[in-house]
Symmetry: C2
Subunit: 271 residues, 2 copies
C-alpha cells in the first residue's frame, strides 16, 4: 500500500512513450491485470495492452477479463459438447452464469439453469435460457420433465453443498461436472451413487491457473473472440449501476447487497 484497486478494465491509449511501438493513440485496449484499473490514467508497457474493438461499449468490454473466459472455458474444457447437447448449471443468474447461457446458445447447446430464488427466473429466461428452475429436493425429476429425459452431458456448479449433489443427480451417465465456486459457503457433496454407479466425475476450474498454464497466444485468441462477440452485441451482462471511484464505499455496499439485477461498475470520473 498504497495500491490501486480493480482487477479488470479497459482504457483508451492517450499517449505513447518515445520510440514506443504499440497500439495507436485512440485505440481501446484491455488494461493489464495486476496493475490496478480503478484509475483515470494508467501507465503500462505497450506490449501488455490487448487491442479491443473501438466501437464496442466500453462498460461491457470492461467485464471481459474474468467472467466471459470463465464461462467459455467451463463450456469447452470439461465435456465434448455438440450442437443440440444439454448443459445444466446452478447459480445461473450470476455473472458467469449469464455468460454461460449466452455462449451456450451461440454454440447451439441447450441449457437447464438453476437459480435459488423465484425472483431470478425471469432475468435468466430473458438471456435465452431453454429451461430455468428454482433449486429444490425434487430437482432431478423436474429437470427430466423439462428436458424430456435428455442425457445432460455437463454440469456446472457454482454453489457447492447439497446443491452439487442435486445437480449431479440431473446428469446423464458418464457426464462431467465442474465446480468453480461455493456460493453456499459449503464444500461440495456428491453421492457415490453418481460417482460409482453412474460414472459422473467432479472437477474444478480456476481461471487464474488457466492464465498461468496456457500459452499467451491461446489466451489472446480467446479474449479476442469474446471481445468480438461483445462488440457485436451478442454477449453482455446486465449492469445495475456505475459509480465513480470517489463513491467506492457506496459501490462496494451496492455490490455486497443481495438481490442485485446486474453488475456494479466503477467508471473514471471523466468518462
Amino acid at each position: 500500500l498504497p495500491a490501486v484497486g480493480g482487477s479488470e478494465g479497459v482504457g483508451r491509449v492517450v499517449e505513447l512513450g518515445p520510440d514506443t511501438q504499440g497500439p495507436a493513440v485512440g485505440q481501446t485496449v484491455l488494461l493489464p491485470p495486476g496493475g490496478g484499473t480503478w484509475a483515470t490514467h494508467v501507465v503500462a508497457a505497450a506490449a501488455r495492452l490487448v487491442p479491443l474493438p473501438n466501437a464496442a461499449d466500453p462498460k461491457q468490454l470492461a467485464m471481459l477479463t474474468v467472467n466471459p473466459p470463465t464461462a467459455s472455458l467451463l463450456l469447452s474444457d470439461f465435456a465434448s459438447l455438440q450442437p443440440g447437447d444439454w448443459v445444466i448449471q446452478n447459480g445461473a443468474n450470476s455473472g458467469v452464469g449469464s455468460y454461460v447461457v449466452q455462449l451456450a446458445k451461440l454454440r447451439g447447446f441447450k441449457t437447464v439453469n438453476i437459480v435459488r430464488r423465484e425472483s431470478a427466473v425471469a432475468g435468466v429466461e430473458g438471456l435465452g435460457a431453454d429451461v430455468v428452475l428454482v433449486d429444490g429436493d425434487d430437482l432431478a425429476e423436474r429437470v427430466k420433465a423439462a428436458t424430456g429425459g435428455a442425457a445432460i452431458k455437463l454440469g456446472i456448479d457454482a454453489v457447492g453443498g447439497k446443491a452439487t449433489m442435486r445437480l449431479a443427480a440431473c446428469l446423464g451417465e458418464g457426464a462431467s461436472m465442474v465446480n468453480y465456486g461455493a456460493l453456499s459457503g459449503e464444500p461440495c457433496v456428491v453421492s457415490p451413487r453418481e460417482l460409482v454407479f453412474r460414472d459422473v466425475c467432479l472437477k474444478g476450474f480456476w481461471l487464474a491457473r488457466w492464465f498461468r498454464t496456457t500459452a499467451q497466444q491461446k489466451q489472446l485468441a480467446l479474449l479476442t473472440e469474446l471481445a468480438g462477440l461483445i462488440a457485436a452485441g451478442k454477449l453482455s451482462a446486465p449492469i445495475q449501476a456505475t459509480y465513480d471511484v470517489a463513491q467506492i464505499k457506496e459501490a462496494v455496499a451496492a455490490a455486497a447487497a443481495g438481490e442485485r439485477q446486474g453488475k456494479i461498475l466503477i467508471t473514471p470520473s471523466h468518462a
Copy 2:
C-alpha cells in the same frame, strides 16, 4: 428363487460333457459369475471357465474375481503412476485395501494407508504398507510429516463423508481421487479448495461397469495376471474363518460383525 448364492469362487473340472472342448478334468477354474458359487457341483458352459493355476491355494483363488481386479484397476486407471510415486487410500484394512497395498508394493509405488481404528494398524503394516495412520482432523499434516511432503498423485476413497475431504487435502496439486465405496454411509464431501484451487478431481469406480465395457481378452489378461500373483504367493487376503454352506447363518453373522481380521469364506462340504 430358488437361487444359488455366491458371486465368486473356484472349482475343479470333474467331468466334461460329450464332445465338449474345454479345460481338462482336474483343471482348477474360475466359476462363471451370476450362476451361484455356493455349491458342491456346478454345471457351466466350458467356454466360460477360466483356467487357473492348479498349484495355488483354492481359497485365495476363490477371492480373485472382485477385490483383486478392483484394487488393480484403481491403481492403474485413474493416475499415471511411476515407481516411487505415492498413493493414499482410506479403508486400507478392507479386502480391496489389502490388495491395493500389496499390488502397489509389487509395482513400486509407496502407500499411505488410512484406517479408522488403532487396532487395524498392525495388520496393514504387515502387508507391506509404507505408512499407516488412523483417520482424524489433522490428517494432512500427519501425512505430510510421514511422507516428507511428497506430492501424492492418487487418492483411493472407500469411506465417503468428510473422510473424502480429509483424503483430498492430503493430495498433491492436480492429483486424481477415485471413490469406490461409502463405508461411512455418507455421500462424499470435497472442498472447492481442493477442486478449484488445487485441481484435484473426483471420479468413481464400479467393477461391474468395467466388466461390461471392457473387451473379454483384456479381462482375461488381468485375471490371469492376478491369478499368477496369487499362485506365486505374492497376493493374498487374510481369511478369518471358513464355513460350510449349511452354516450359512453363522457365516453371514461372522461376516457382518465388526473388527474382523480377514474374510469369511464358504467352502463346499467335501472340500
